[in-house]
Symmetry: D2
Subunit: 166 residues, 4 copies
């Protein structure tokens, strides 16, 4: 069975997404594919699309767990799972993966990060990518909780941490 | 149709739950019932049980959206919805309510708060109750996001904010 | 905790629904309420609405597990659970109840009957109500399967069978 | 994006599964793969395993939408989606596919067939494979319903019907 690594991050309508954040996302996809794992995401734009594009550059396989129709999938998704359960698909995405990598993000990304930690799924956040990832990278904040994400400083390190955990 | 107000907070295994936090939870349940709304929760222990106990003191109706069997419901739950979908029930809980009040909490509570904000459900967090509620009550943090929860300083204020929104 | 009895049957757009079938549905709701159980349905029109109306005539409590918004609930629903998971709500409905009573019905009703039988939930179909209920009431057909629904000849008998099972 | 064809049928514990039925299932998987489509199933034994084995014989890609853990997947599944939502995964399976082929089957298979028809997904049942597929192949029964499955007489014909529809 194939190993699956998830990526969590904002859709394309997040105005705070920078070219640098999208570059990190693309690199995550690329390294996931290079490691022979399947890249799983929510299948839409922004971070999800950049990561899927990166995975395809390395001839990887990409799965999009869609909130609704497969028509919403970005053009780098090989296999769309059109759940039609709205954001309950976040749960399915987190359950599907062997490890989750989170980049930047708003409440939706935080929803996936918190769920992954809640069910004990290895979770890696990339420091310096902005949004919730950066807030959660704060050691003072994290030490309040027993269960914590890993913090990586680059796409490459994040994928290596993910692969080590699965 | 009855108005539904949700409560989100830790299960009884959260060692950081203080008597003071549980008292706030009980008051939330009490005031929700006094306002004639149904109290909806995840149906288990800790904050969920304290709130349901409070609601029953005011002759309210309590619903528990259970991750699994109805057997896990606390003894103050009138109607248990045994979903058998695990923590995907968090999504159902958030969808079910007209407003969500969050107290203290760990990753599971944050999962519900973030989801509620993501789908635009009125969300009230109680400052001073500990856990994620206190972290999110920080204005410096919240001003990074367009969509934000309301911050209340007491159970009574939280329920009044919730009722005003629904 | 309250006992919950579900009703499954066509929405109001089923042209084969007869006044007689709707009368049976209303009686089911009435007797469920008389027995002190909560009536659970999909919350919409047709059989669901008739049953909820019957339950309210006997001062019962009615829950509607909605595929989408609470706005779609019929006017006899006290508590709407707006799941926003589409027909995956059929699973939640079947899981929620202690027993399921099915009347007439098309593929959607069959979906709930088959799921109830698949998970071992007591299932009662009413013979003479039309649709799938009548097809399934055939003994020759049912003897092909190890797990079978109960067959009742009236609303009253169906509710009595349901109550006996829970 | 890849085309996805689903197969629905009994798990390995169905004592009425014959070698002939399993052969049909294997052929369905084989032809699905030959047509370049992804084979989607519930990922477990019996019909699901036979079909996945067939798909792998033709170098196809196989996805299993699991009720729980990926550990329950048969050994011919490439990508397991461990949903942890129990039989609510039937909904996800039906939503995921462009067309559904059903073989023999008990209540669980009927659950998937009825759901597929209810949401208007092209559905093909194979006559002569036993169980619910054979019951539904009866024209007298089907003419009672506006929405009907296609009836095929062989695995090859079923896959050709599925491909024509997608």
């Amino acid at each position: 069975m194939k190993k699956m690594i998830g990526i969590s991050g904002s859709d394309g309508d997040d105005l705070s997404l920078t070219p640098s954040t999208l570059k990190i996302a693309e690199e995550v996809g690329y390294y996931v594919a290079k490691k022979g794992a399947v890249l799983v995401s929510g299948g839409r734009g922004g971070v999800m699309e950049a990561a899927a594009r990166g995975a395809k550059k390395a001839q990887g396989l990409t799965i999009g767990i869609m909130p609704g129709s497969a028509d919403e999938a970005n053009s780098f998704i090989d296999i769309a799972i059109p759940t039609y359960v709205g954001y309950a698909r976040n749960y399915l995405l987190v359950r599907s993966v062997d490890a989750l990598i989170a980049i930047a993000g708003r409440w939706g990304t935080l929803n996936e990060i918190s769920l992954a930690l809640n069910i004990g799924k290895p979770t890696i956040i990339i420091r310096g990518s902005g949004g919730w990832a950066d807030i959660l990278a704060d050691e003072g904040l994290l030490k309040k909780f027993e269960v914590r994400p890993y913090v990586a400083s680059s796409a490459r390190e994040a994928v290596e941490l993910a692969v080590r955990e699965i």
